[in-house]
């Protein structure tokens, strides 16, 4: 007689049922696993077409991609090594800023009302920022500007939903004046060539005012305002060649900057006077040995080669360069600074309130924060905590032929309180009144 311990298939089935049942019981005794939080939707707006795409828009977008991917993967350096915003992954929608101001506003409304984004980070043109600001306030939409420079956004009236972590344009020109005077103490005559629109006019006004305060005996020689994207600068170069100026200030960018430098270098202008380029940092990797040695380089803050040597900056430089084949320039830094600022505020709000924070909670958490970006520390101390200030830096360009790469040497750093107006003071008035309260030591 053969003894069978039951029917093997039936035994297997019973064992399986018991296992399932025990697992189910065990599972029922465990707390239910938390659902991963839904994604945070961000609208990222920058120029993806048109003349501003190459120098600003695309580097800005690239900066956002790098930072958002690292945040979502939790691979950004500390203190940003937690996933996304408050643990929720970021879903970014990239939108082109090109087009009329009306179109920019329409696209902003689409992002907020149709796409229901949680926040918008973007905008390069000051015109775009000025147009979007009242709409952002009307829609109660959290908006972080990353590159536009006009101080008017917060000077016209207080804002609640609009922030700008990157400093405004005033420090670009006060910093340029301080660096120039430090390097050319006896400067008597200087000229300027700036594009004939608000950016160029405001930059020149700030620079001249700052020179008037810091070097009262110096005088303006030539004031040149070619039209935006003029392309041909022969007459301007001749005018400067026949002048006695000792320095040339310019807020030219991209095509105008590079075209002017190609043409002026062919005619030897840089041997007569140094070029003080407040945004020239954005062009050094394209122009390389065609950027004249001795050019005074600004990068709208301590960005690119002017950035401090920190682990966060080293990480950003490395990841960006490996991904895009060229080092990040200042718009990439400004975008990174803006997205990280949003993360700091979001995480803070979520920690305080629990769960996904409401827009007003993030706004409250954003006001007046201080944090570290790839370009160093930033403090939102102006405009009731909505406008950031940073130190700035200027340096002198040198193309290192042995290493076959651009270098910025002789870097001088100016503390944030040295080149920015104090809270509550209009930037233009601050310079004209002699930059009272500036703390430079």
């Amino acid at each position: 007689m053969t003894f069978h311990f039951g029917n093997p298939p039936r035994v297997a089935a019973l064992a399986a049922m018991a296992t399932v049942a025990s697992v189910a019981v065990a599972a029922a005794q465990q707390p239910a696993p938390r659902q991963p939080p839904g994604p945070v939707r961000l609208g990222i707006v920058s120029f993806l077409s048109g003349p501003a795409a190459s120098p600003f828009g695309v580097p800005g977008r690239n900066g956002a991609e790098i930072v958002i991917e690292a945040l979502n993967a939790g691979t950004a350096p500390a203190p940003y090594n937690t996933v996304g915003l408050g643990g929720a992954k970021i879903e970014a929608k990239y939108v082109d800023e090109a087009g009329s101001t009306a179109q920019v506003v329409t696209e902003f409304r689409n992002l907020v009302q149709r796409d229901q984004v949680d926040a918008v980070v973007g905008y390069i043109s000051s015109g775009s920022c000025l147009a979007v600001t009242p709409v952002a306030e009307e829609l109660k939409a959290l908006t972080v500007y990353f590159d536009c420079g006009t101080p008017r956004i917060f000077e016209e009236k207080p804002r609640k939903y609009v922030f700008r972590a990157a400093p405004h344009a005033t420090m670009d020109n006060t910093g340029a004046a301080r660096y120039l005077i430090a390097k050319k103490k006896e400067i008597a005559l200087f000229s300027g060539i700036n594009q004939n629109y608000a950016w160029g006019q405001d930059s020149w006004r700030d620079f001249v005012s700052a020179m008037g305060v810091l070097a009262p005996t110096s005088k303006v020689d030539k004031e040149l305002f070619p039209k935006l994207f003029a392309g041909e600068f022969g007459a301007e170069i001749s005018t400067l060649l026949t002048s006695k100026s000792q320095a040339l200030h310019s807020s030219f960018w991209d095509g105008d900057l590079e075209g002017f430098l190609y043409q002026s270098e062919a005619r030897g202008l840089s041997k007569r006077m140094p070029f003080v380029g407040t945004t020239a940092e954005a062009s050094i990797w394209r122009m390389r040995d065609k950027m004249p040695d001795g050019t005074i380089i600004g990068g709208r803050g301590p960005n690119g080669p002017l950035a401090p040597d920190t682990p966060l900056n080293a990480w950003f430089q490395k990841v960006y360069t490996e991904r895009y084949g060229t080092p990040p320039t200042y718009p990439s830094y400004q975008m990174a600074l803006s997205v990280l600022g949003l993360k700091v505020a979001w995480d803070k709000a979520q920690k305080e309130k629990g769960g996904k924070p409401a827009t007003d909670d993030v706004v409250a958490a954003f006001e007046g924060i201080s944090y570290e970006g790839p370009s160093g520390p930033v403090r939102l101390t102006l405009a009731n905590g909505h406008q950031g200030i940073q130190e700035t830096a200027y340096g002198t360009y040198h193309f290192n032929k042995q290493k076959n790469q651009p270098e910025v040497v002789d870097i001088m750093r100016f503390p944030a309180e040295c080149v920015n107006p104090p809270a509550g003071v209009n930037a233009d008035d601050w310079i004209k009144d002699g930059m009272k309260g500036a703390k430079c030591n």
């Binding site: 392309g231 041909e232 022969g234 095509g255 190609y262 062919a266």
Partner: protein
């Protein structure tokens, strides 16, 4: 004295630039009565083509002199292909329609070609400075002149002379003149107007591309360069007389000299002076300096 010399040389260089970008536009308008906004795209494609050619040529370490020739030839070849495709593929379909419709069609094509540039070359800007650097410079007192600028003036003068000679003294030029005066009569006398249109448009496109190629070493070749050029070209063509090559030349010279004088003497007026000249001319000669008397059709 030095300032006067600077105004003259700068004016000539700027006029050469204006003439090169305007001559193709005025030729197409003169023959086909099309205000061709796409001309800005021809300029942009010429500049991008030139930048590509310069990149290919100089990266291989070939003799410097050939780089300029390669740049110009490649840009004009791009103009030829682009002009032919647009004329046969698009404009042929709208001949006979209202002039405003045709302007809108060329504007639409212009916008599409801006995106085509992004698709081909991406959003980054390009430098094509090597021919200008290779050309060197000369010094006259405190003034340093780029030899490339002198070459630019010479090329513009050559284009003006060849255009004048071709229109006045060649068979094709005479056929063109007949079509300019009256298309229907020309067709009735057996002139192949369709062929004249195609050839004219292609030549206009090649001239636009030549303008872009000649300017590429001086500028940063970047998105949107065609937009700026088309506005200036219209101002020059309107000043000189729509459809007149002599008008484009004289218009470019007047605007170029006046602008150079403004930059040297009253820089605040630099932007204003180009359009002030145009307005002043149009007040006294509403059809431009070299407009033809139009026969009244009954």
């Amino acid at each position: 004295m030095l300032t006067a010399l600077a105004i003259l040389t700068d004016g000539l260089v700027y006029a050469a630039y204006l003439f090169l970008v305007a001559v193709g536009l005025t030729l197409i308008f003169g023959v086909m009565k099309i205000l061709n906004v796409t001309h800005g795209s021809f300029y942009a494609f010429g500049a991008y083509g030139a930048a590509t050619a310069v990149g290919i040529y100089y990266d291989r370490g070939l003799p410097e002199a050939g780089g300029f020739l390669f740049m110009v030839l490649l840009a004009m070849a791009i103009g030829l292909v682009l002009g032919f495709v647009l004329e046969r593929g698009v404009l042929r379909l709208v001949y006979g329609k209202d002039e405003v419709v045709i302007v809108l069609v060329t504007y639409a094509v212009f916008l599409m070609l801006e995106d085509v540039i992004v698709l081909i070359w991406g959003p980054r800007s390009y430098g094509a400075y090597q021919p200008m650097v290779a050309a060197g410079s000369i010094e006259i007192g405190d003034l340093v002149l780029s030899n490339y600028d002198i070459l630019l003036v010479a090329i513009a003068a050559l284009v003006a002379v060849v255009s004048y000679w071709a229109l006045k003294y060649t068979r094709y030029g005479r056929l063109l003149t007949v079509v300019i005066f009256n298309r229907e009569t020309a067709a009735a006398f057996g002139v192949n107007v369709t062929l004249v249109y195609t050839v004219t448009f292609v030549i206009g496109a090649m001239l636009g591309a030549l303008g872009g190629a000649m300017m590429a070493p001086k500028i940063s070749v970047t998105l949107g360069i065609g937009v700026e050029v088309i506005v200036l070209a219209f101002a020059v063509v309107a000043t000189g007389g729509m459809g007149s090559i002599e008008g484009a030349l004289i218009g470019a010279l007047i605007v170029g000299i006046c602008r150079a004088a403004a930059v040297h003497l009253v820089p605040q007026l630099e932007l204003f002076v180009i359009y002030a000249v145009m307005a002043l001319v149009l007040i006294f000669r509403p059809y431009g300096l070299f407009s033809r008397a139009a026969p009244r059709k009954i």
